[in-house]
Symmetry: C2
Subunit: 196 residues, 2 copies
Amino acid sequence: MAEPRIAEHAVDGLFIGRTSPRSFTGEAIPDEVLFSMFEAARWAPSASNIQPWRLIYAKAGTPEWGPLFECLMPGNQIWVAKASALVAFVAETHRRQGETRTENRTHALDTGAAWMSLALQAEMLGWATHGMAGFFHDKAREALRLPADFDVYMFAAVGKRGPAAALPPELAAREVPSVRRSMAETVFSGHFPVVG
Amino acid sequence: MAEPRIAEHAVDGLFIGRTSPRSFTGEAIPDEVLFSMFEAARWAPSASNIQPWRLIYAKAGTPEWGPLFECLMPGNQIWVAKASALVAFVAETHRRQGETRTENRTHALDTGAAWMSLALQAEMLGWATHGMAGFFHDKAREALRLPADFDVYMFAAVGKRGPAAALPPELAAREVPSVRRSMAETVFSGHFPVVG
């Protein structure tokens, strides 16, 4: 058995109850549910309200699904095959103003805020998400037809949670809530602890 | 008057109702409230559950406040002076395994997920947050005593929302909910729209 999730301080169940399953039922996702998730992502905050994120999606069983699915590493394809949708999180890395091209230092951080909003809105609607860094980067750039100054950081699988027993044994064993580093190792007062 | 926030699809009020005020009341924040926000951040998802984020905080009126406050650009100091706490979002950029040092491609994105969780938990508790990219990077590295392979991406002010009228006129005028790019310009099916 895995360790249970234990909060050190009061926290809304939305945050500690959210997990990233690999077992999905494969049921079709209605557009209105998927777009509610996108809507939550759209309202995330970003530096100077630049909104560097773009979301590129494909629903299972549509012509768009294959090209996105093929970007995933085989170990993820095994279980993503029963997800209902895939969403790629893409960010505009630089800003151009006239002749000047400058990096937006928070482009990935802001995109993470959009991703978290999507994941929490999914949870509220009874759907689950699972983010993945395990994809082929160059293949994804090409499949998603990314313009210059955009980069792709993650894919998320979206679906209805299925039983662990539906997974191959080695994946079923991982279908338990992950734990976290302690608060004392994560949050510091004033400055980083002075090591040693 | 600014344009109102209008959702294109159903979305929970938590997401569209959250704004980033500049007017704060300056009231003291109880530790249990601040640590509920940190707890939400702690449970954010991350690639391989690495949890690259670290949060470094200072409450107003404590010895820790000054060094963090001094990292902010003057335009932010004007209004952050009445916030209740500052939180710096720091990320571990690389992973070392034996002799090998590799970049964690999602270190900033994952840290953004932790930031969004903190902001939403704050909102649930009746507190507000305002993220800032406007700080002196080298000064912050030093004040926060960042080790190698860590970088600082943003500061957030945390406080109780105050009246717009308490701000200088030019800031009071900005105390309105920001709008967003349209869904059609943000979310794409299958691939980036082909331009031209």
